[in-house]
């Protein structure tokens, strides 16, 4: 697993609330953080569009992974939405052309699990910013920092 992350280095991980405000955002390089803020922010449009599609079949409803949202020259942006409309966005460097859907899905599953643990904290108020060390650790692992 660790190897996969190493190859698929995420440069930005974001959690977006159901009101589309950021609940958590972490970038590999804090100096260019704003650029990623913009990128994640604009993908909300696409996520919303994907979630809004009315003609989803039953199997589609259960599919939380939204796939590739946006592909830029240097980055690929993937999305994932929980059933409670919490969105996860991961920006991967597209230098690695060997990106496979399954690997990205694994990242999101891990992120979802970490998120679920974070909000299970009885002191967490739904809708607040996520401030959890364990969640931080999980995100950093995804980003390959540790």
């Amino acid at each position: 697993m660790i190897l996969i992350y190493y190859y698929m280095m995420a440069v930005c991980v974001a959690v977006i609330g159901k009101d589309n405000s950021p609940k958590y955002i972490k970038c590999l390089d804090e100096n260019t953080a704003l650029q990623f803020h913009y990128k994640v922010h604009t993908t909300i449009d696409i996520i919303e569009e994907k979630l809004n599609v009315g003609n989803k079949t039953a199997s589609d409803v259960r599919e939380l992974f939204l796939g590739l949202l946006f592909s830029a020259e240097d980055h690929k942006i993937f999305g994932y939405a929980t059933n409670t409309k919490i969105k996860f966005v991961v920006i991967l460097q597209s230098t690695n052309t060997l990106l496979r859907d399954n690997e990205v899905r694994t990242i999101f599953k891990k992120l979802h699990a970490a998120y679920a643990n974070a909000v299970c904290n009885p002191f967490y108020v739904p809708g607040d910013q996520i401030k959890s060390k364990l969640f931080d650790l999980a995100v950093m692992e995804i980003m390959g920092i540790i």
Binding site: G17, H37, D45
Partner: protein, 1188 residues
């Protein structure tokens, strides 16, 4: 989509590339005839041109032409206001890019002007000559011409003017539409003829059609090769398709495109293959979505704008549009039509092919936009997004303006399908392009305007009120950057007011998201900016009409609490007369109507009153969150309703200081309801209106308080020293204290000064204390009349009032006499003399030890003057003692002298103010009567009240107890004094009727004694004097008999000589003395069953009375007689004789007793009183028997 081949396939030919992208194109424009609308000359007004253009576009965008073979053909026309001549070069590649028609507008007044217009028109014709089919000149002249197409009589067109002109005299141009239709018709037919001409050409003989940049590539190539032949053939087929499409034959066009695509694919002619695909797509879209085109009536302002040709959108479709035909029906007539899902697929292919040529970048861009519009029409937003995303990757060397246009168009398209975030992102890029370094003429104004439009996409509302305070709306990091950019743009375009406004907004709304360092930086920037232009809480209106709502700094300083203050207690207005309102029989209703709502509204409405013209205050707590000193000036209250004059306040808050209390004050200038909405501040160079409504953690959005008319104010001073400390009560303004010995009087002068602005017309004085009313009235006394004469009191004037103070103490020490009296009352003692003689007194005199016990009792028990009769009820006495603890426990009496005053309007409105003077009287004991008894006096009209008096002070005392008699007492010395008192006359007792009881009798007697006995004491050391009263004496039945006049009047005769009590009687031994006793009933009712008895006894003066005198005297006649009844005022007489055998002193006890009644007898109350009672002749007669 991008491919590296593009570089290989096309060498850069910059001069040939189409440098004027038209982002507004739609797929339908492929089928339209292109016309240029151009005003010429300087005379014509923009407005006129705009109106004429609108009419032309409305009438001419879509028209039908009837053809004998096909029937009706729908032809589209596209009108543009600008057309770069270079774009015509691409006309071979896609025919709709050719400018086919020209319509000019001009106005002339003179012949020279007309000549100039004609010249300009011809110049334009030459400019576009390569492609132009036809042109019209619409000329507005001063006079009407008879023939529209001929100039008016006095004018003539130059000979080289070969254009068909239309001459109008006024701007209404009546048959403009017909003229345009005629022009369009002619254009169509020329086109149709060209199409037919082309279609008849031999395929193998046509020349190669070229895109502008290709010309160089084909130099030196073998034009005769098979490949090239095919290429020529494919391209001309595609070209035919274009013409068919323009000529209203989409079916033919589709088949041409289809065959062209297959030919061109074979020869790898990618560019033209892309064009063929695009043709297929556009033709299909035209058929499938006929309503997508722009031929519809548009709103006036958005129709045509300079520099953006044909800026028209789908979306304003009229209801009357034909419904698009279904694909199945169409498939039958047009076999090559693409189904909807194929269109975008084919378009994608076309774009990929275009992308292989760097010089076709603009074609690719335009194609992407067109494809997007089709996708939008198909409702495939993700498809549309991907087309638009592609646009960003097309590498074009564009001018900054074109880049701006590109981003603006992208933004518009994103907006059109609801991708507000992407739209804002693009628009922001457009804004930055306006001021980028590469831009030769940066335009900060434009940048700012675009930035303003960006805000909505980032969920940024420029009204701080709409921004949630917790910031959970939008992305703070981005929002902060956007605001910063707005600030920068505003600064650079030289509008410091806007910069200040946005900076204020940033601080206000984003404060929680800024790091402390950022906060500091922004605050300092704001201070700098606001020096150029001070921020004020007014909306700013831009030139474009946009209104920037005011931004108020409510976070700096942060308000922790905001509370209205009541006036000081003594200044609070009170209702003069509280009329009890009739609330019905129920004081409480459990029914709560809309409980929540009511609670809220009632709380924000203050339950106290403010007074016009008085300073009213609001207290606040402020927090400075900034790491440096904050100077807040000009703080005032914001009010609504009546006029309120606020007093500006200035404070300096230390860095990061906690809650600091600030009081804002002001004066209401009118009467009515005052609403307090918040306060205004001036800090960091920004004026803010901090309204409670928009502040966090404020319980109420506003407060309202009622203001009553102006009331006077007084200052109160007393002549007595102030109390060191007094229990602070309501509205106490000053205090007075005095020490008095019991029975002493004092005066206190109270000076009332009117310090207000209103004359005092009413003053009412009252006293409030824990005492009961009678005691209170004894202690405090004053003259209301005296005060009334001093009214009205003008402002500045003063009045004085004398308060008389009297120390009321109970001079009687509580003793055990209650038990004595009650037992004496309840059971008539058989021993008759035991309680009345002097011998009985010592038993009730105080021993020293007893005395101290009483002292302690004094502090714990209380006896009012009226309650002595209730001695048998221990319950009652304990209750009383509880009630009266304050009076005697400390001997300090506290009272409040309430001065209720009002005047002028306030009085008219029924309000007054109450100031209180706290009066403390320390009461020291002076004299105390520890016990008392009554003794018969020498005359029957009087008796002696014997008092044991103790001087409770440490001073020497002089006690006057009658007019003439006085006694000196040392400090703490007890003393016994006899006071002669007149007996209580029967007429005082006459109020006692048959129903009266003994308690009442006792009370009357006690009062009688109190009124007659006058004990005046004087302390020799300290020159104070006072008067002790005896109210509250308790008297036993036997005492009562002495105190009151006997109801039976005695007439005693000795030897027929009437005697008086003090008479000395003598007689000799053996002498017969006749004793006559007459009894008169002085009562108003008759007495019955009386026994009159005459007894002789000898008083041994040692407490022993000897009644056994059988050997010493003899009585002749009955010494006891029964009197069955004695009528009211009736008289009975009895006589007997006595002979004394031995010498000595004898006493005669004459008494009259009523028969004892048994408890079982049903006796009425009055009988009970008299029953078993003995009346005695007092003092007993004394007869001295001398030895003869």
């Amino acid at each position: 989509m991008r491919s590296a081949v593009s570089v290989i396939l096309s060498s850069p030919v910059p001069d040939n590339k189409m440098s004027h992208p038209d982002y507004e194109q739609t797929a339908h424009d492929h089928a339209a005839l292109l016309l240029l609308l151009k005003p010429i000359g300087t005379q014509i007004k923009q407005k006129t041109v705009a109106r004429l253009c609108e009419r032309i576009i409305k009438s001419g965008s879509r028209f039908n032409v009837y053809d004998s073979t096909v029937g009706a053909r729908e032809i589209l026309a596209r009108f543009v206001r600008e057309h770069p001549v270079e774009n015509n070069d691409w006309g071979e590649f896609q025919t709709h890019r050719r400018l086919l028609g020209l319509i000019t507008f001009g106005k002339y007044d003179t012949q020279t002007e007309l000549n100039e217009l004609c010249r300009l028109h011809e110049t334009l014709k030459v400019k576009y000559g390569a492609t132009l089919y036809d042109s019209r000149a619409i000329l507005l002249g001063p006079v009407e011409s008879t023939n529209l197409n001929e100039p008016p009589k006095s004018f003539s067109t130059p000979s080289n003017f070969k254009t068909r002109a239309v001459f109008y005299a006024d701007e209404s141009c009546p048959d403009l539409e017909a003229q345009i239709a005629e022009c369009l018709n002619s254009l169509f037919w020329i086109l149709e003829s060209k199409r037919l001409e082309r279609s008849r050409e031999k395929i193998d003989r046509v020349s190669l059609l070229l895109a502008p940049f290709e010309k160089k590539d084909f130099i030196g190539l073998d034009l005769e090769s098979r490949n090239n032949k095919k290429r020529c053939c494919g391209r001309i087929t595609k070209h035919l398709g274009d013409l068919c499409l323009q000529a209203g034959l989409p079916g033919d066009a589709l088949s041409h495109y289809n065959s062209a695509a297959s030919i061109l694919q074979a020869v790898n002619d990618w560019l033209w293959l892309g064009a063929a695909y695009e043709g297929l797509c556009t033709a299909s879209a035209l058929v499938l979505y006929p309503n997508m085109c722009r031929s519809l009536p548009l709103q006036r302002n958005s129709s045509l704008q300079e520099g953006s040709p044909g800026k028209q959108r789908r979306g304003s479709q009229a209801v009357t549009l034909p419904t698009p035909p279904t694909i199945d029906v169409l498939k039958a007539s047009m076999p090559h039509i693409l189904p909807p899902e194929e269109i975008s697929k084919k378009y994608r292919e076309a774009i990929i092919h275009y992308s292989k040529y760097q010089n076709a970048g603009i074609i690719e861009t335009e194609a992407s936009f067109k494809a997007t519009r089709i996708s939008i029409e198909q409702n495939c937003t993700l498809q549309a997004t991907s087309f638009l995303n592609n646009v960003l990757f097309i590498n074009l060397t564009l001018s900054e303006q074109e880049k701006i246009d590109r981003f603006t168009t992208l933004s518009e398209l994103f907006t059109s399908f609801g991708f507000a975030r992407k739209a804002s992102f693009c628009l922001r890029l457009a804004a930055t392009r306006h001021v980028s370094q590469n831009n030769p003429n940066p335009d900060w104004q434009q940048c700012y305007n675009l930035m303003l439009q960006v805000t909505s996409g980032f969920k940024l509302s420029l009204d701080p009120v709409e921004m949630p305070s917790d910031g959970q709306r939008g992305w703070p990091a981005i929002q902060i950057q956007v605001i910063n950019e707005l600030v920068a743009a505003a600064n650079r375009m030289g509008n410091p007011a806007l910069a200040t406004r946005h900076m204020t907004f940033l601080l206000q709304t984003m404060f929680n998201h800024l790091t402390p360092q950022e906060r500091k930086d922004i605050t300092l920037q704001l201070q700098a900016v606001s020096q150029q232009c001070e921020g004020a809480p007014v909306p700013l209106v831009l030139d474009s009409g946009t209104v920037i709502p005011p931004a108020n700094l409510t976070n700096i300083p942060k308000t922790k609490s905001f509370t209205l203050k009541n006036l000081q207690p003594h200044l609070q207005p009170q209702k003069v007369e509280r009329i009890k309102e009739d609330h019905g029989p129920f004081l409480f209703t459990p029914i709560n109507f809309g409980s929540l709502e009511r609670k809220n509204t009632s709380k924000s409405k203050m339950d106290y009153l403010w007074v016009e013209g008085d300073i009213c205050e609001v207290s606040m707590q402020l927090i400075n969150p900034l790491p440096f000193e904050l100077h807040v000036s000009n703080m005032r209250l914001l009010t609504n309703g009546i006029v309120f004059e606020s007093i500006p306040e200035t404070i300096t808050l230390p860095a990061e200081s906690g809650p600091i209390a600030v009081t804002l004050a002001g004066t209401p200038k009118e009467v009515g309801d005052l609403e307090i909405l918040g306060f205004s501040t001036h800090t960091l160079g920004v004026k803010s209106n901090c309204r409670l409504r928009y502040m966090e953690n404020m319980p109420h959005p506003q407060y309202s308080v009622e203001v009553v008319p102006a009331l006077p104010r007084i200052d109160v001073a007393t002549s007595l020293p102030q109390t060191a400390s007094f229990s602070s009560g309501d509205n106490i303004v000053t205090s007075a204290s005095v020490t008095l010995y019991g029975g002493e009087s004092s005066e206190c002068t109270i000076t009332i000064t009117n310090v207000g602005q209103v004359p005092i017309e009413m003053i009412e004085i009252s006293v409030q204390s824990t005492l009961d009313a009678p005691t209170e009235s004894k202690i405090f006394n004053w003259s209301d009349e005296n005060l009334k004469t001093q009214l009205p009191l003008q402002p500045g004037a003063s009045a004085s009032l004398t308060l008389y103070l009297y120390a009321v103490v109970d001079f009687l020490a509580p003793t055990s006499r209650n038990e004595i009296s009650s037992s004496a009352y309840l059971s008539q003692p058989s021993s008759i003399m035991s309680h009345s003689g002097p011998s009985s007194l010592p038993s009730r005199l105080s021993s020293p030890s007893h005395h101290t016990k009483r002292q302690s009792e004094l502090t714990s028990s209380f006896r009012s003057g009226l309650s002595s009769h209730s001695g048998h009820s221990s319950l009652a006495s304990t209750r009383l003692s509880k009630l009266a603890v304050p009076l005697h426990a400390s001997n300090i009496i506290e009272g409040q002298l309430k001065i209720k005053y009002s005047g002028d309007a306030g009085l008219a409105a029924g309000y007054c103010r109450i100031s209180s003077v706290f009066v403390t009287i320390e009461m020291l004991p002076s004299v105390q009567i520890t016990s008392w008894d009554v003794l018969p006096a020498e005359t029957p009209a009087q008796f002696y009240l014997v008092l044991d008096v103790t001087n409770m002070t440490n001073h020497e005392m002089e006690l006057h107890y009658t007019q003439t008699k006085c006694i000196y007492m040392e400090g703490r010395e007890p003393c016994r004094i006899p006071v002669p008192v007149d007996r209580c006359p029967l007429n005082k007792l006459s109020v006692l009727n048959e129903g009266g009881d003994s308690a009442e009798l006792e009370r009357i007697c006690a009062e009688h004694i109190a009124s007659l006995v006058d004990l005046r004491w004087q302390l020799l050391g300290i020159e104070s004097s006072g008067k002790a009263t005896l109210s509250g004496l308790t008297l036993t039945q036997d005492m009562l008999d002495l105190v009151r006049m006997s109801p039976l009047q005695w007439e005693i005769t000795i030897n027929d000589i009437a005697v008086k009590a003090q008479d000395e009687l003598t007689c000799g031994l053996g002498e017969c003395v006749s004793v006559g006793v007459g009894v008169c009933n002085a009562l108003e009712h008759s007495l019955s069953d009386l026994i009159l008895s005459i007894n002789f006894y000898q008083d041994h003066q040692n407490g022993v009375n000897n009644y056994r005198l059988d050997t010493r005297l003899s009585i002749a006649g009955a010494n006891k007689v029964m009197l069955p009844t004695l009528q009211e005022y009736g008289r009975a007489y009895h006589e007997c004789r006595v002979v004394f055998f031995t010498a000595g002193q004898y006493k005669i006890d004459i008494q009259c007793s009523s028969r004892e009644s048994t408890p079982t007898a049903l006796a009425i109350c009055s009988e009970l009183i008299n029953a078993g009672h003995t009346w005695r002749y007092i003092p007993p007669l004394e007869i001295t028997v001398g030895e003869c």
